[in-house]
Every structure is written in C-alpha cells, then in structure tokens.
Amino acid sequence: MNDETIIATEKLDLWYGPARALLDITMEIPDRRVTALIGPSGCGKSTLIRCFNRMNDLVPGCRIQGKVTFHGKDIYGNGTDPVGLRRRIGMVFQKPNPFPKSIYENVAYGPRVHGMNDRTRLDSIVEESLRRAALWDEVKDRLSAPALSLSGGQQQRLCIARTLAVGPEVILMDEPCSALDPIATAKIEALIEELKQRYCVIIVTHNMQQAARVSDFTGFMYLGRLVEFGETVQIFESPRDELTENYITGRFG
C-alpha cells in the first residue's frame, strides 16, 4: 500500500471476560481513504473500530493484547490520554444520538468542553463543521432550533458535524446509515466521499453494496479474524479467500 498509514494493528487480540472477540488482527489503515469493514453480525467489526479510540476501555472485563498504533505511536502505551485520543479519532454511531440541545449547541459542545469559549471562534467552528457535514444550508436559519426536530438523516449529519467540530483526523462510523432511508443514506455516502479529502474514514457496514460504493479498501472479518483485506475493487471483483467470496455472494451458512 503506497498510502500513508495512520492507524495500524499488530497481532491484536481482545477478550470480553473469557470470550475472545478478536484474534490476531494485523492491518494498516491508510490516511485520507475510506476503509470499510464488512462481515456477519458478531464477527468483531465494531469491537475492532472501538479499539482504535479506546472505547473498549469502558467495557468491564475487556482485555487487549497486541498493538494498536496511531501515527506510529502505541495508543495503549503509557502516556496516551484516551480523551485526547478520542478527540483526534472521532466516532459516529448507528443511531443518530444528538444531545437534547439546540443544533448550535450540539456542534459547539465539543469545542466548549475542550475549553473554547470565544463566541466568534465558536460561531465559525459551528458553521465550518456544519458545512463540512453538508448540513449548513438546511439549518443555517434555525441554529437555535432543537436538534431533535431534525429528520433522522439530518440528525446523523449533525452528529458528523459534532465529530468534526473538535478537529479529528480519523472518523469511525459504526453502521452510520442503517437507521436511515435511501435518500438520507445517499447524502451520507456523498458526504463520506467529501470527508476523505481531509480525514481518514473507517466505516463498519452490513450493507455490502454500500461498502463497495464508498470505500477504497475493504476488510472482511469472520469470527474475530480479519480474513481478507485489500482494495475494494479487488475484494468485490475477485476476492482471494473463498470465505470472502462466499460471504459477499450470499453463499453463507
């Protein structure tokens, strides 16, 4: 891979109590590209991306072995601040989860928590983030309206804007479209295409056509292992592993 690696894992294992959820995952994720993770439910996709910003730290009984590096630095090593890490590696979830506040406050919340109080700076961060999340034109006249008054697709883009507001480098998306209709989905997909100009995007999806459409690289996971990882075109045209082939052509189980 010629692209610059931003996140890498090396022989990563993860246990939830006695259950091993990830086995021996070694992969390199390129910067400013979209990487999709596909695989059946319970295969470890979400668990894997939650390792990238240490969200699994919050799960009781979760134990990790192996290495995850961000810009070459071990994120589980001493001296990594998980909160600072999560600012640089943001996350968007399956169901839009805006705070029960105004549209403006949702986006301004992160920068405020990080100590930004200058109203003019906040205004410009809010506008810039909403623009980058392709939501500005739809909400610029009602920034003080409640975020929950937005449609599902708009709420999801608001959550993306909220992630962008703290200036991340990586955006993790866990099934970002599965609660959205096809039109809202198409908007998010177009947005992902835009986002990769500036950010590394890692998306977990059950929708294989979506993975094929939006990503540059695809990883197929099964029972906690990374079975195959490669360029998306190669994975969907002629996968090397029979398991991958059987999964993406629906010949499973």
């Binding site: 294989m208 094929a212 969907f236 045209e237 002629s238 996968p239 082939e245 052509t249 010949r251």
Partner: protein, 218 residues
C-alpha cells in the same frame, strides 16, 4: 442475495450454453452442407438465424435483469459478465454459419464445387468447430484444461487460412472460370478464422469467470 439468485444464475448458464451449441450446430451443419453440396440443409441453417437472434436478445435481457435485481459481485458478477460475452460470440459464430450456408446455396450449380474440398475447407472447419466446442465445454464445467491450448490452435487456423488463400490464387490463375467460386471459398476461410477468434474470446472470458484473472489469448 438468496438461493433463488444462484438458481437463476445456474439456469442462465444452461441457457447460454444451449445457445452456444445452437450456434456451433449452425456452423457445423453449414460445413456439412458445403461438403455434401446439400442445399436443403443449407436452407435450413439460414432459417435458424431468426431463432439465434431471439436467443441472443432474451439471454441478454436475462443477464441485465439479474444485474439490476441482485447487483452481483465477485464470482456471480464474473459469471454474468462471461455469459454476456459468450452470447455475443455465439451469435457471431451462428451468423457466420448462415453466411457459409448462403455461399453453398449460391454456388450449388457451379462446376467447381470440389474446390472447397481441394482447398481443405472441411479440415479447417473441423479444427475451428473443435475449438468452439472445447471453449463451450470449459464454460459448462469450469475445466480450463479444455482451453489451455487455444492460442496454439488459433495459430494453426491462421496459418491454414494463409495457405488456403495462396492455393486459391493459384487455382484462379490456372483457370479464371473458378474465380467466382474461389473467391467465395476464400471468404469462407476468412469466416472460419473469425469463428476461431470468437472461440478464443469465449475462452478468455471463461478463464476470467473461473479465476478472476484477465488473459489475452494470442
């Protein structure tokens, strides 16, 4: 993607294969008609053209329908891509069969019919038909050994066409009354050579379908 989809794909492969053999049969019957000067068989081959076009249209539609409904990937996508190429190659082969049948009919009353045999057209025909047959067998079974020698076999067919061309010129110079029939026979040699090329196209696509790797035969 359901099992229904894979049943439909399997059915499509059977239908495409049937069309391939239908076209191959048009060519082989045309060559038999040429050899035996059998005008009624030649007429029969000509009539099959309509059915050939119909098969081409319906199978093409079927392939597009499967793409539109199931958005196939990987092996399934390659299978449908291959089917589309096989039907258009088969259609060309069948139409060359029809063209050869037309020559048989138009030359039925000339005196130089034995020239076709002297020019080893039947031999060339057999080589080409066996190439088509093996390419279709490979498509049916995925057995790539059937098409492993296609490049060399195509070279033999090309060389043969060259020889026939030179021999034809010799006959025409010896006896200008043979010019009309000789010219037609040279056209047949050309059609046969094109049919061999189409069998190579089928072989290339079968190779892609089975392995995912694109090759060029020749």
């Amino acid at each position: 993607m359901t099992d229904k989809f894979h049943d439909e794909i399997a059915k499509m492969r059977e239908d495409v294969l049937a069309m391939g053999f239908f076209a191959e049969r048009m060519l082989s019957d045309a060559m038999t008609a040429l050899q035996k000067n059998d005008v009624s068989l030649a007429e029969d081959v000509k009539k099959r053209k309509k059915q050939l076009s119909h098969l081409n249209d319906t199978l093409e539609e079927e392939a597009y329908r499967l793409i539109a409904l199931y958005q196939p990937v990987a092996r399934d996508m390659r299978e449908i891509a291959c089917a589309l190429k096989v039907i258009s190659a088969a259609e060309r082969i069948g139409r060359y069969g029809k063209d050869i049948a037309s020559v048989v009919i138009s030359l039925a009353d000339t005196r130089s019919k034995d020239l076709a045999i002297a020019l080893s057209l039947p031999h060339m025909g057999n080589l080409v038909i066996s190439m088509i047959d093996d390419a279709l067998q490979a498509y049916a079974t995925g057995d790539l050994s059937k098409i492993a020698a296609h490049s060399e076999r195509d070279d033999v067919v090309d060389a043969l066409r060259h020889t026939i061309f030179r021999e034809g010129i010799t006959y025409m110079m010896e006896d200008p009354r043979t010019i009309t029939s000789c010219m037609n026979y040279l056209m047949i040699a050309r059609y046969l050579e094109r049919c061999a090329d189409h069998s190579c196209k089928i072989a290339e696509k079968v190779h892609y379908m089975v392995t995912g790797e694109r090759i060029e035969i020749k």
